[in-house]
Assembly symmetry: C2
Homo-oligomer: 492 residues x 2
């Protein structure tokens, strides 16, 4: 803890790497491209899971579990899907190792070669729609509203902890519907669930939009997304929700009889968020001293640090600190009493700052005499001496004001770095400037144009925002006519 | 639902297979040896997870996540471990597919061969202990009390849904300690947690014991287990807790400095339960009409079936049924109102019986006039007409009496099929009889003896029970001296 983190303003990327490491969130593993999620990082993911799972259930979804391994031939059943996913996947070819006859280790047993290889799921549309074929006969079996919590793999040569790893944890919803309208409605409903989750729970404001044709999910008719801005002005796709049309139903021959006894292919959606969100959470709120966690998602919302070195002080302070801990816990607050007497208070302050605990309470013998607590908030670092009596309400209000404060701060950052531009020069200045940001500009709808901009400015079209009115204009690069603005940004 | 299940007394194995299928718990998948866990089956597993996770946290454990893929060479670092697990694992050899130049599908890209192959984790001791090396330097870093919820794979040629599948879901605890005593204490503590979970939550009584040398976990010093008896008298290992000594610390060079600044290898435990428990739950309690679920683990504890065909009846009955549903839900009861008017009551009765819902409430217009409810319990099929007023308490008591009743019934079954025997002839009669059961007999401690008995009677030593006093005797097969009795049984 002696060494400071790199400053965000000097090296944002290194700041992130060091923060993930020092705050004990995750680390690289001996398995190429894969991470170990350490207990503190996993506790954040667990909070997210719990909240999302509740929201999925409240919207009528149930969980199920499908196999990790997908028969190789399944991938090529949907024409676009195979190009998107077959090219970066882990392939299982054998089912046994054996002792190396010429050494001490083990080798792959050539006699245990599989007839058909499997891939580790990069996403589960194929195996799930193959299964849905058995589950769906008539309109009475619809809608089918299923979610899966799982690990997936996409081979990744340049991993970044949480943001891009070969294996990651996620949830994938896969729903089946009798009509296109209903499937589109589901797609948008889940986009809304993700938006609410991101803004209310993670305090990360997002923009809802639709991906341009060339950026959509392989196999989707439409890909909707939520895009968040990180503190360095870059975009991070925080969740996607796909309207899959009848593409997978056709690929896996999933039909149903409607109420008029006519047979049709089933309509589909899929939607997912992943451990990437832990990366987004870190980059949206944290500062040069460490994590800043919104109270909703923080593993500990409050840490109590007793100030008591001598035994007689400890005797006086510790029982009060324990009482306070119990009192807060009973009120439903996630609280940690740090009574480890091998560490000094100063060390603890820095450590819990690094770990992003929203509220710190310091309690010494003088506080006990005065019947006060010193309460500090992590986000603004404001400290206040508060009367013990009634402090629970104070703390509850503080937690909720930190939660809102973080969202407001993130919104302000986004507003400050959100630029409506009408010339390529201007766009260049924004995207190559220190702060980067989102650029709202006209685009002619052509893939080549988007690719040229990507090549020159390293920025991609993040989405066509949903709430933007149509507006006649000219493409920022080609000058060709355009009907609406889209968002360009560099992205994670 | 027209067709009856096979009777347990006629074909227990087919009864199990059909029940799993008809109660919508799970099905086989196109991926060899793997299952799809359907929503109703998964909901049971979720309840188990939630309960266990709470118990792990209450005993000081935290969750983390380690990679799915383990470098091949890791497996051979621990001498016994490799023999146990290298022989039945999924091997990843490539990281890309490509279009088949001679066809329409995809083939493994030979240029994407991995330098070192990976296996899909059959269990995670190796990769976890490789990671612990970085986490443990001094006694201050100990104990390390970590659990992981994950999927694992062990290649399986003869899968049985839940009981034995290539991929299964589980939790694996991996703890590190400064002393052997502390690690043994942890091993037994988790055995106790599993026992409590099994008996109090699943209503399955278990016997705690230790595995004989030749049945222990590859790499363990001692393997403790809990053994449950199924209704056909067979044993099912419901959980294991291993004292690993310093074996993995030595294999992965994990040492620590103790308080006296002396360096020593770290002491380890690991412990796990899996989706197998869903199989155990089914086989322990269910009957010829379907599942019988203990209220603690049942996705729905109560189902309300309104009796109302005509619109005027529905108008009268449905609001009361909905009220009752809300009332029960607010009291924390998991309740389902089955108001689907495309199905007849008789169909619903059979369906919810099949699904094992502990309590069924029937509510018709006459009940409304009389201010009563017809309440039936799934386990004993007793029905009673109960006054609406105060019915919540009645239902709460009923749920708790079903929970205890199931445990008592399972205990009685075990007592009736638990035989202390002193001759091989007697043992043969029990194990080859209709009911099977557990046989408590003397054994000379020799592997050959156990193997001979296994060959002849298809029974294995389930465990050396923990609570049995020492007792001089003679081996049931060889007559050689023995110091204590062990449990023999056929097993799943």
């Amino acid at each position: 803890m002696s060494q400071k983190l790199p400053k965000r303003s000097e090296d944002y990327s290194q700041w992130y790497i060091e923060l993930v490491k020092r705050a004990d969130l995750a680390q690289h593993s001996p398995t190429r491209g894969c991470m170990v999620i350490k207990p503190y990082g996993y506790a954040i993911w667990e909070r997210m899971q719990q909240q999302l799972d509740g929201m999925f259930k409240a919207t009528g979804h149930v969980n199920a579990y499908f196999p990790l391994l997908i028969p190789k031939s399944f991938l090529s059943r949907e024409a676009e899907h195979v190009d998107g996913f077959a090219m970066e996947c882990a392939v299982v070819t054998h089912h046994r190792l054996k002792r190396d006859p010429n050494g001490t280790g083990v080798i792959v047993d050539p006699e245990a070669k599989l007839e058909e290889e499997y891939v580790i799921r990069p996403t589960s549309e194929t195996i799930i729609w193959d299964t849905y074929k058995d589950w769906i006969q008539s309109y009475r079996d619809l809608p089918l509203l299923i979610n899966q919590w799982a690990n997936v793999m996409r081979w990744e040569m340049k991993p970044r902890l949480f943001l891009r790893t070969a294996e990651f944890l996620w949830q994938e919803g896969h729903t089946a519907h009798a009509t296109a309208e209903e499937a589109v409605e589901e797609t948008l409903k889940m986009l809304e669930v993700y938006t609410q989750f991101s803004e209310e729970f993670l305090a990360i404001p997002v923009i809802q939009g639709i991906k341009p044709e060339h950026e959509k999910f392989p196999g989707a008719v439409d890909t909707y997304c939520i895009e968040a801005m990180m503190q360095d002005g870059k975009a991070l796709q925080a969740g996607t929700s796909h309207f899959l049309g009848q593409n997978f139903a056709k690929a896996f021959d999933v039909t149903f009889l409607d109420a008029e006894n006519k047979r049709d292919f089933v309509w589909a959606t899929s939607w997912g968020v992943s451990t990437r969100l832990v990366g987004a959470l870190i980059m949206a709120h944290s500062d040069d001293d460490g994590l800043v966690l919104p109270p909703s998602v923080a593993p500990y919302q409050v840490v109590i640090v007793p100030l008591a070195n001598k035994p007689e002080e400890q005797e006086k302070v510790l029982p009060v600190a324990k009482n306070l801990e119990n009192h807060l816990r009973q009120a439903g607050i996630r609280v940690k009493l740090d009574d480890d007497d091998s560490k000094r208070p100063g060390w603890k302050f820095a450590e819990w700052e690094l770990k992003g605990v929203p509220v710190r309470i310091v309690l010494g013998s003088r506080d006990i005499e005065n019947k006060t607590l010193e309460i500090a908030r992590r986000d603004t670092r404001e400290k206040e001496s508060v009367a013990m009596e009634g402090s629970l309400t104070y703390i509850q209000n503080l937690l909720s004001s930190i939660q809102t404060g973080l969202l407001d701060k993130a919104k302000a950052l986004r507003t400050a770095n959100f630029h409506t531009v009408d010339s390529y020069e201007e766009m260049k200045n924004v995207l190559q400037g220190d702060k980067g940001g989102f650029v709202l500009a006209h685009w002619d709808g052509k893939r080549e144009t988007a690719e040229k901009i990507k090549e020159e400015l390293k920025a991609t079209i993040r989405c066509i925002p949903r709430d933007m009115p149509e507006e006649e204009g000219k493409c920022i690069l080609t000058g060709a006519p355009s009907k609406r603005r889209v968002i360009f940004a560099k992205a994670y």
